[in-house]
C-alpha cells in the first residue's frame, strides 16, 4: 500500500529557501490577480504596475514607505524577544498605544511648563515607562500563576484603546474627540521629519540583534523558549527571565509609541497604531525572529499595503481590496514555511519496511 508520508528535511541552503519563498509570493500574487480580475475585470498587469507606483512612485511615497517600514519594524523588534521565549505577546497594539498616550499627556500638560530639552527627556521616560507597565502586568501573572499570556495581552489591547477613547473625550475641551496636533512639542526634527524615526529604528535593530545573539540574557531567552525544564535544570530563574524580557519588549513598544506620536503624528487616536501590533507578530514570525530578516519582511508587508492602497485609488476599488490581497499573500507565506521544513515522500508498503 502506498501512502504519503511527511518527513522533516535537512535545513535548506539559504538561496533555495529564499527561492521557495519567492515562488510562494509569486503564486499568491497570481491568485490575487485572478481575484481582482474576477471582481473588477481589469488587466492584472496594470494592477501590479499601479502597486509598484504606489510604493515607489514619488519622493513622498518613498518617504512614507520608509517611515511605515521603520514603525512596523520597531514594533516587530519589540515583540521578538518575548516570542523567542515562546511568550505570545499579542498586546503590542496596546503597549504602543499607551506609550503614545503617555507621550501625548506629557505634551499636553507639561508642554508649556518645562524647557524643551527637559520636556523631550520626560517624554521619552514617560512613553517607555508606560510601555513597560502594560507589558509587565501580564508577564508577572504568567510568572506567578502561569496565566495564559495570549489572552491576557489581547484583552490589555482593548483596555488601552478604551483608555485612549476616554482620554480624548475627557481632555479635549471642544468635545470633538479629536486632538489637534501639537507639533511645537514634538521630538526634534533632523532634516526630513521621518529621518529621526528611521535612524532610531536602525540603531534599535542592531541593538536587539546583539542582545538576542551575543548576550547572556539573549541566550537565556532562547533556552527558556526551547524548553522551560532545561532552563530550570541549568539554573536559569525562569520567572525572572520572563519578567525581564517583557520589560525589554514593553520598553521598545513604548519607543514605538514615542516615535509614532512624538516623532510623526503629534496627536493620538484609537487607531494610531492601526493594527500594526498584530502585523508585527507576523513580521517577526516570518523572519524566524531574526532582526535582520525582519527588515525584509516588514518591507514586504508595507510594500504590499501601500501598493494595494494605490490600486484601490487608481481603479476606484474599495480600500478593502488591500486587506484581502494582504490576507491571501500572508496565507501563502505562512503555508510555504511547511515546504521549507518538511518534505512529502511516498512511503513504502508496511511489509517492505518490516
Amino acid at each position: 500500500m502506498f501512502g504519503l508520508h511527511i518527513v522533516k528535511r535537512e535545513p535548506m541552503p539559504w538561496l533555495k529557501s529564499m527561492l521557495v519563498r519567492a515562488v510562494a509570493i509569486i503564486a499568491s500574487l497570481l491568485l490575487s490577480a485572478v481575484v481582482i480580475t474576477l471582481l473588477t475585470s481589469t488587466n492584472p498587469l496594470k494592477i501590479y504596475a499601479s502597486m509598484i507606483n504606489g510604493a515607489f512612485g514619488s519622493e513622498l511615497r518613498m518617504w512614507s514607505l520608509a517611515q511605515n517600514v521603520a514603525i512596523l519594524l520597531c514594533i516587530s523588534l519589540a515583540v521578538t524577544p518575548a516570542f523567542k521565549m515562546r511568550f505570545w505577546n499579542c498586546g503590542a497594539e496596546g503597549q504602543v498605544l499607551v506609550g503614545g498616550l503617555a507621550n501625548v499627556s506629557v505634551m499636553m500638560f507639561l508642554g508649556d511648563k518645562l524647557p524643551y530639552p527637559v520636556l523631550v527627556v520626560v517624554m521619552i521616560i514617560a512613553s517607555v515607562a508606560a510601555g513597560i507597565i502594560w507589558a509587565v502586568i501580564p508577564a508577572i501573572f504568567k510568572a506567578i500563576w502561569n496565566t495564559n499570556e495570549t489572552l491576557f495581552t489581547l484583552m490589555m489591547n482593548y483596555v488601552a484603546i478604551q483608555l485612549v477613547a476616554f482620554f480624548l473625550k475627557y481632555f479635549v475641551k471642544n468635545g470633538s474627540g479629536v486632538l489637534t496636533p501639537m507639533e511645537e512639542y514634538g521630538l526634534p526634527v533632523i532634516g526630513h521629519s521621518y529621518i529621526l524615526n528611521i535612524i532610531t529604528v536602525a540603531v534599535l535593530t542592531v541593538l536587539v540583534y546583539i542582545y538576542l545573539k551575543r548576550t547572556k540574557q539573549g541566550y537565556e531567552i532562547s533556552v527558556v523558549g526551547e524548553s522551560e525544564n532545561t532552563a530550570k535544570y541549568i539554573g536559569i530563574n525562569v520567572k525572572k527571565v520572563i519578567i525581564r524580557t517583557l520589560v525589554v519588549s514593553g520598553a521598545i513598544c513604548g519607543i514605538a509609541g514615542l516615535l509614532l506620536v512624538g516623532g510623526t503624528n503629534h496627536t493620538i487616536s484609537t487607531t494610531t497604531v492601526d493594527g500594526r501590533g498584530f502585523t508585527a507578530i507576523m513580521v517577526s514570525w516570518l523572519a524566524k525572529f531574526n532582526p535582520v530578516f525582519m527588515i525584509f519582511t516588514s518591507f514586504l508587508i508595507v510594500f504590499l499595503q501601500n501598493g494595494a492602497n494605490q490600486v484601490s485609488t487608481d481603479f476606484r476599488l474599495p480600500n478593502a481590496i488591500s486587506d484581502i490581497i494582504t490576507g491571501i499573500i500572508l496565507f501563502f507565506i505562512i503555508g510555504c514555511e511547511f515546504f521549507l521544513q518538511y518534505k512529502i515522500v511516498a512511503s513504502k508498503s508496511r511489509k517492505e519496511n518490516n
Binding site: K8, T150, A320, I324
Partner: protein, 318 residues
C-alpha cells in the same frame, strides 16, 4: 429597565454563538484568533445571500417566503464560517503553521472581505433584517415574562439551543470525550487511537461555522440590518467570553447576557458623560482579565484552559 434587560439578552445571544464556536475550537487545542475575521466573513456571506435572494424575488415579483429568507442566510453563513475554519485548520494542521500568526492573518482577510462586500451592496440590510427580528407569535399574550423570554428573533433561540447541545456533546458523549482529550493531551489521544487531525479539523470548521452566525445575528438582529461599523471588536469579546465562562457553553448562556449588559450599560445609565461611557466599555475586558487571573491562581481542575491550547501537535516531533 425592561428595555435594558431585553437589549442585553439580544446582544448577549449574539455573543453566545461566537463563544460557543470558539469553545468547540479551543477544546480541540486550537486557539483560533481569526474569530473576528470568521465572523466578518460569515456575516458577509449571510447578508449577501439574503440580498441576492430578496432582489431575485423582487425581480420575479414573488413575495419572499419568510422561512427561506431566514434559512438561506443561515446556510450561507455556516458555509462561509466553515470555509474560514477550513483555511485555518489546513494551514495549522496540515501545513503545521503557527496558530497565532494564522489566526491574525485570517482576521485581516476576513475584515477585508466584509468591507468589500459592504462597499458593493451598501451597508443596509433592513429588508432582510425584518425576518430575523420577528418575535414568536405568542409573545404578546404572556405579559412581561413573554416580553423578556419570547419577544426575540429566531436566531436568539438558535444560539441557546446550540450552546446547550454543545455542552451536552462535550460532556456526555464519546465524541466530546475524545475531543477534550485531543485538546488536553494530543499525544495520549493519538496513542489511544483517536484521529487527532480529524478532530482538530472538524472541531475548527464546526466552531467557525457557528461563530459565523454570531456576525449574522449581530448585523441582522441586534443592529436591525445596519452594518454601520466593523464588527471585529465583537469577535474579540467572544474570545473574552470563552475565558470568562471557563470553557463551558452552558455557563456561557448566562455569561453572555452579563457581557451584553456590561456592553450596553453605559447607554442606560442617565447622567454620565460621554467620557465615562468609554470607561464603562472597558468593563467586559477588565472583567475577563480578572477571571483569567482568578482561574489561573485558583488552579482548579475544572476551570482551566485545555492544556495544549495553542500548541501544535506533530506525531513525529514527540
Amino acid at each position: 429597565m425592561l428595555a435594558f434587560l431585553i437589549s442585553a439578552i439580544r446582544l448577549g445571544m449574539t455573543f453566545l454563538f461566537g463563544s460557543t464556536g470558539e469553545t468547540i475550537t479551543e477544546k480541540s487545542g486550537h486557539l483560533n484568533l481569526g474569530i473576528p475575521g470568521v465572523m466578518c466573513v460569515g456575516a458577509s456571506c449571510g447578508c449577501y445571500a439574503e440580498y441576492l435572494y430578496l432582489s431575485q424575488m423582487r425581480e420575479m415579483r414573488i413575495t419572499a417566503s419568510p422561512f427561506l429568507a431566514i434559512l438561506i442566510p443561515i446556510v450561507a453563513t455556516l458555509a462561509g464560517g466553515a470555509l474560514m475554519g477550513l483555511i485555518f485548520s489546513f494551514l495549522t494542521v496540515s501545513l503545521r503553521a503557527n496558530q497565532n500568526v494564522t489566526g491574525l492573518a485570517l482576521t485581516t482577510f476576513g475584515i477585508g472581505v466584509s468591507d468589500y462586500m459592504i462597499s458593493e451592496t451598501g451597508p443596509i440590510y433592513s429588508k432582510g433584517s425584518r425576518y430575523f427580528t420577528e418575535p414568536l407569535p405568542f409573545a404578546d399574550e404572556l405579559g412581561i415574562v413573554g416580553e423578556i423570554l419570547f419577544s426575540h428573533g429566531v436566531l436568539i433561540y438558535l444560539s441557546i439551543i446550540i450552546a446547550l447541545l454543545t455542552s451536552f456533546v462535550l460532556n456526555h458523549t464519546r465524541i466530546g470525550l475524545n475531543l477534550r482529550s485531543v485538546g488536553e493531551d494530543p499525544a495520549a489521544a493519538d496513542a489511544a487511537g483517536i484521529n487527532v487531525s480529524l478532530y482538530r479539523y472538524s472541531a475548527t470548521c464546526i466552531g467557525s461555522a457557528i461563530a459565523g452566525l454570531s456576525g449574522l445575528s449581530f448585523i441582522m438582529d441586534y443592529l436591525n440590518g445596519n452594518w454601520e461599523y466593523c464588527i471585529d471588536a465583537i469577535g474579540w469579546l467572544c474570545i473574552a467570553l470563552v475565558i470568562f465562562t471557563v470553557w463551558k457553553p452552558n455557563l456561557a448562556i448566562i455569561g453572555s447576557i452579563l457581557f451584553g449588559a456590561l456592553y450596553i450599560v453605559s447607554s442606560y445609565i442617565t447622567g454620565i458623560s460621554f467620557a465615562a461611557k468609554e470607561l464603562f466599555e472597558m468593563l467586559p475586558y477588565v472583567v475577563t482579565i480578572i477571571v483569567l487571573v482568578f482561574t489561573s491562581a485558583r488552579d482548579s481542575k475544572n476551570s482551566q484552559p485545555p492544556k495544549s491550547l495553542g500548541l501544535p501537535y506533530f506525531r513525529e516531533e514527540r
